[in-house]
């Protein structure tokens, strides 16, 4: 088995996670979440989204969150923010952003339903943004959503994903994160998709962003590692849930990812026990138990140890 020696994790909790939370999270809690994630060793933390507060009230404090986070930025940590358009980019830049992220769907129906334009149109709209970013020396990461399945049209063609990924790189993105937005991918469909993408895009520019809706995220990460992918997105505590099926799981939990990578002997820089502390803390702030199996198992073992010290 030839697998990457180290993996870069891009933490999605503060943005992709909290964005889907119904309960409005206080700004202090958001900033504290980023601080605690840094403390656990994460080196890339997507911090907020510069989307209109009319559409996503949860992210209405984006400028304040980013300014406060950047005012005490940790050395060597990136704080990308999502910028859906030029206006958002300009606001992010004003708040001090040095890295942003843009997104395109690999499904025409998803693009139409979500942003009311075709995939091609949506990518063209990003061109002035990526040009402005380049001029300002701001790094741009690209997301492709619905890379194996779409809630409206079902299966998505791997060639379409490859095309959108290649376009995002051509526009100046340094990396494309391939999102299984509704979590329907399995190791076979993810591998087929990656094969198509890797015909157009170097594997070093590819990240996997897999949702755990059907419990397949770690298996999909493992299949991707076998193909050389070495960057993965995840959200502490599995924050966010699935916006397409209430009650189902969403983002892969960062602690589940780290647990597997630790086991595979890959360096991540993240300290699992500290990360589980963050998962327990933010879950408590949101009034629930952590969604991840690793957090639940580690916390259960700690509770056991606390009651039976002699056995350990």
């Amino acid at each position: 088995m030839s697998l990457p020696a180290s993996v870069r994790i891009v933490e999605m909790g503060p943005r992709d996670g909290l964005q889907n939370e119904k309960r409005l999270v206080p700004t202090d809690t958001k900033v504290e979440l980023v601080r605690r994630l840094e403390g656990a060793g994460l080196k890339a933390i997507e911090t907020t989204s510069f989307v209109s507060p009319k559409w996503v009230p949860q992210m209405g404090d984006n400028s304040e969150v980013l300014s406060r986070v950047l005012a005490q930025a940790a050395a060597g940590v990136a704080y990308p923010v999502l910028t859906p358009n030029l206006k958002g980019f300009e606001a992010a830049l004003a708040a001090g952003a040095t890295e942003v992220a843009v997104f395109g769907a690999a499904s025409e129906s998803f693009s139409q339903k979500n942003i009311n334009c075709s995939i091609a149109e949506s990518l063209e709209r990003f061109r002035p943004l990526t040009e402005a970013a380049q001029a300002a020396g701001v790094k741009v990461r690209g997301y492709v959503s619905c890379v194996v399945g779409c809630p409206y049209e079902g299966a998505v063609a791997p060639q379409k994903v490859a095309e959108v990924a290649a376009t995002l790189l051509e526009m100046g993105c340094y990396e494309v994160s391939l999102g299984d937005t509704i979590g329907v991918g399995n190791p076979a469909s993810i591998s087929r998709m990656l094969e198509a993408v890797m015909k157009r895009v170097p594997v070093a520019r590819v990240a996997g962003h897999y949702h755990d809706t059907y419990g397949m995220a770690v298996a999909n990460v493992f299949a991707s590692l076998q193909m050389g992918v070495a960057v993965f997105d995840a959200a502490v505590g599995g924050l966010g849930g699935c916006p397409y099926a209430a009650g189902a799981s969403g983002n892969l939990a960062t602690e589940d990812l780290v647990w597997m990578l630790d086991g595979l002997g890959m360096a991540t820089g993240v300290e699992l026990d500290a990360l589980v502390d963050v998962a327990a803390w933010i879950s408590a702030e949101l009034g629930r138990d952590p969604a991840s199996r690793v957090a639940r198992a580690v916390l259960a073992k700690r509770a056991q140890r606390a009651t039976t010290p002699a056995q350990q």
Copy 2:
């Protein structure tokens, strides 16, 4: 990717699942669970355990459950029962058993703590049982527990697993099921363990029995499929939890396994929607939600469809 074309699933819910449930499950419910699992297409259902009711009160109705199940046995379905000793085997035989299962640990400490004897002694104790089974024309399946880690001694040597597996086959078991009892395996440690076992045992005699305590079970199944393993144990609804960490996950949920195998294009004979119905039913009988991500996602989607029929 060369993977097996079909997979045999051995359902653990009625035995390994319910055995760990604190709430005493009525005999009628147990029999009904087996019936419903047959209805979903399962062809091997471990039905009960002929262990002393003093140790496992939950299985105190073993003879009645097995007799009633066998009185209306479905064609082509196997109903193995766990028989920890000759006395249990004789009771199982009296109730009509045509297949039984025995177990050995790959960890000396686990063997000592659980059955108060060495691994070698425990296997020798099974010899009269396997001889009696052969004489009676009863098939015997073997389990090895703690195949990657032990709650008392940590990591377990792959060679030890291979040795116990080979001994069980030599004693007449038709198959050995390799159990990651505390769910600490990952695709790398599971692969190393399988490599060692497959030096002594043909892959066609090997089954994987992976617990989902740290969310790795499907990834471990995927790694095992890549090595040619084509038999897996699982429990509907993830029944049973983890006896070594209260609140953590235990058995891999059968619906999570089937969902992945369906996605990989492998035949299982199991109908996913019907299986999710069984998971929902037995979880409701036990007074909780199904533990599996697939059951939760499928049920969430059904609920969504019921409220927004036009969108589908």
